[in-house]
């Protein structure tokens, strides 16, 4: 992971939706930090700097609030409904020596051999959870897929992790497999499979005529 980045924040005592909206209009992002038994504290950060940093892969920050500097790791980000802008960010207090569980992206390198024979690489998981030191969080883990033929699979336990990292995802979790591409069905074929109309659960069965109870 990239080096720690220093950001300046300002503590905020007024919390709530309307105050958060007002902050966002000023180009600031409401944030919160917690962990290490110190309780939660709310603060605001400059949106532009933080967005740029996160886009460049930073997850670990030194944040200075009212003269105090804290080392914080991004825990959660809330987006707006279009997923374009950040609306809130959660940080967790960390020590550089402590172990944390983080989700790390997988980088698939190369072109699978099976794709040259009409196969398709089906990626089921593109990130895995690893436990590592805060100072040694990998930015991404490379997975070489050159030798994957049709019918081959890669499981979480097959991935080579960087030194000092342990796998937290289930080792039997399927990361990717290579299989033959099924021929896409035409609209006519799909229509033949579909029923004419749906079955209605609450529909009463018709009683035979002439029967009296």
């Amino acid at each position: 992971m990239a080096d720690r980045m220093l950001l300046k924040g300002e503590s905020r005592e007024q919390v709530g939706t309307s105050k958060a909206v007002a902050l966002r209009k000023q180009g600031k992002l409401p944030a919160i930090m917690y962990g290490h038994g110190k309780g939660t504290s709310s603060f605001a950060l400059g949106l532009h700097d933080l967005t740029e940093a996160i886009h460049h892969g930073h997850r670990l920050f030194d944040i200075e609030i009212d003269g105090k500097r804290e080392t914080l790791l991004v825990k959660d980000i809330q987006y707006d409904y279009l997923g374009k802008n950040y609306i809130h960010i959660d940080f967790i207090r960390v020590n550089l020596a402590e172990l944390v569980t983080v989700s790390v992206d997988l980088n698939f390198k190369g072109i699978a051999a099976g794709t040259h024979e009409g196969g398709m690489l089906d990626v089921h998981l593109d990130a895995i959870e690893v436990e590592c030191k805060v100072s040694e969080i990998p930015e991404a883990i490379d997975v070489v897929v050159k030798e994957i033929n049709i019918g081959d699979s890669i499981y979480a336990s097959d991935i080579e992790l960087p030194d000092g990292s342990t796998l937290k995802t289930d080792g039997e979790a399927l990361i990717l497999n290579c299989h033959l591409v099924a021929i896409a069905k035409s609209t006519e074929e799909l229509e033949e499979e579909l029923p004419v109309g749906p079955e209605v659960i609450t529909e009463k069965a018709e009683e035979p005529e002439g029967e009296e109870s």
């Binding site: 398709m120 609209t187 004419v196 749906p198």
Partner: protein, 139 residues
């Protein structure tokens, strides 16, 4: 007939209203690239099928297309030259109710430029304005 549910509790439904934005299904979850709706609208089963055909034809057996919406809502329509009344009309089709932010289709296993071109073709089949989105980075 295009896409429709296999089983329903009641055949005919009230039309309802579409308020607000999509708070679920609004990010790329299965593929790598997605097509996101920017408006609210009914998307019929035929339109969803047309989008699927457009994408699969363009991709030419490469990559994987995921459809993230399903037409689970029926609508009725009275025949022409019919007087009002006499009960609710027969079902005319099935629609998915799409709100701004909803991801309609996803594509995985192809480079971005190909996915972008495929989803642009799909967007032509949709009754709503759409935009191309990519998967979020994990934290």
């Amino acid at each position: 007939m295009a896409l429709m549910p296999k089983r329903v509790k009641y055949r005919k439904k009230m039309r309802g209203k579409m308020k607000g934005n999509a708070c679920r299904g609004n990010f790329v979850a299965f593929g790598e690239f997605g097509l996101q709706a920017l408006e609210c609208s009914w998307v019929t089963g035929r339109q969803i099928e047309a989008g699927r055909v457009a994408a699969t034809h363009f991709l030419h057996r490469e990559g994987k297309v995921h459809i993230r919406i399903f037409p689970d809502h029926s609508y009725t329509c009275k025949p022409l030259e019919t007087r009002m009344g006499k009960g609710k009309a027969e079902i005319a089709g099935w629609v998915a109710r799409v709100k701004p932010g909803a991801v309609l289709y996803e594509i995985g296993g192809v480079p971005e430029d190909i996915a972008r071109a495929a989803l642009a073709r799909v967007a032509y089949k949709m009754p709503v304005r759409c935009r191309f989105i990519t998967k979020r980075h994990s934290l």
